[in-house]
Amino acid sequence: MKIKIVKNILDANDQMALENKKLFDGAGVVAINIMASPGAGKTSLILKTIDLLGLPVAVVEGDIASTFDAEKVGAKKVPVVQINTGGACHLDAAMIRKAVKRLSLKGARVLFVENVGNLVCPAEFKLGESARVVVASVPEGDDKPYKYPGMFSAATAVVLNKMDTLPVIDFDVRRFKKGVHAVNAGAPIFEVSCKTGQGLDSWIEWLRKLAS
C-alpha cells in the first residue's frame, strides 16, 4: 500500500531552527551563521569583529574536535560555548539549541555561530540564524563559488578574506565576484584582511545595520 507523504527530509531540523529563531528574537539577539572551508579565517573574522563592532556579542564555536577556537574567543571576555561534533561535518539546529542553554544570551545583541569548516554540508542545515555569512579567502582560489554553488547561493553575504595576500597569489577578484553573483545576484561581498584590518569597516557597518 502506497502512502503519500511529501515531507521535507530536513523538516525536523527546519522546525527546530524555527524554534531557535524565536528564542533568539525573544532575547533580542541576531544570530549569524559563519561558514567557510577550514582555514579561511572564520575565527579571525569573529575576533576582529568583536574588537570593532562595539556591541555585546556571544559566540558558539563548532568544531569536530578541540577547544582552541573557544579559548581564543574566551580571551576576549566574551561568552562562548564550544560544540564538538565528534566527527559530524556540520552543525544542526538541535546542537545549537543545546549549546545556547549553556550560554548567557542576556544583554547580547549578536550571536556568532562558527560552523564546522566545510563548504558543502553546513549549507543544508538551518540553525535559526538571521544571516548566513560565507567566508572565502584569497589563497583558496577564485574558483570556489563555481565549485561550491550550494554554499555560495545560500549566503546572505560573502566575506573575501586575506586580501593582503593578493600581490603574491594568482587570484582574479572579478572572476570570484562574478561566480558569487552568478548563483546569488544580491549578496554583498566584503573584501577584507583580518590581518591588516583593510575593508573591515563596511563589513562592520553591514553587521550594525543587521543588528539594529
Binding site: 500500500m1 502506497k2 502512502i3 503519500k4 507523504i5 511529501v6 515531507k7 521535507n8 527530509i9 530536513l10 523538516d11 525536523a12 531540523n13 559530524a88 561535518c89 556540520h90 544542526d92 558543502v120 554540508c121 549549507a123 543544508e124 542545515f125 563555481y146 554553488p149 550550494g150 547561493s153 562574478k178 553573483h181 552568478a182 548563483v183 545576484a185
Partner: protein
C-alpha cells in the same frame, strides 16, 4: 558526510508515517542542487534502518533537474554542467525555479 544525518531523517519520517508497519519502499525526490548523493544515502540506509521496520526497504530516487530563470531576460533554462550563464542573453545570475527539492514523496507499506 551529511548523508548520514539525512538518512536518519528519512528513516524517522518513514517510521512515523506508518507506525507498527513494515516499510517496503520509500520514494525520495532530490533536486540536482540539493547536494545529496544518492549512493551515500543508500550506503547509510542499511546501517540506519537496521533493527527498524524500514529494514530492507527499497529506495527509489526521483531526480529533478535544475531549472534557472535569467534575472535579466526571464528566459528559463536547464542548468547544464554548472553553467549559470543564460543561453539567450549571456547574463550571469539566475533564480532557481526547481532543483533544490529534498523530500519524501511516498512510502510503500505492507497492507
Amino acid at each position: 558526510m551529511h548523508e548520514l544525518a539525512i538518512t536518519q531523517n528519512i528513516v524517522d519520517i518513514a517510521l512515523r508515517s506508518a507506525p507498527e508497519r513494515q516499510v517496503k519502499g520509500i520514494t525520495i525526490v532530490l533536486g540536482e542542487l540539493s547536494g545529496i548523493v544518492e549512493d551515500s544515502v543508500r550506503f547509510c540506509f542499511d546501517v540506519v534502518a537496521a533493527d527498524t521496520a524500514a529494514k530492507g526497504a527499497a529506495l527509489t530516487f526521483r531526480r529533478v533537474p535544475a531549472h534557472v530563470r535569467c534575472t535579466k531576460c526571464a528566459f528559463e533554462f536547464k542548468l547544464d554542467n554548472g553553467d549559470w550563464a543564460c543561453p539567450q542573453c549571456g547574463h550571469l545570475g539566475g533564480q532557481v525555479m526547481q532543483g533544490r527539492e529534498c523530500y519524501i514523496e511516498s512510502i510503500d507499506v505492507e497492507d
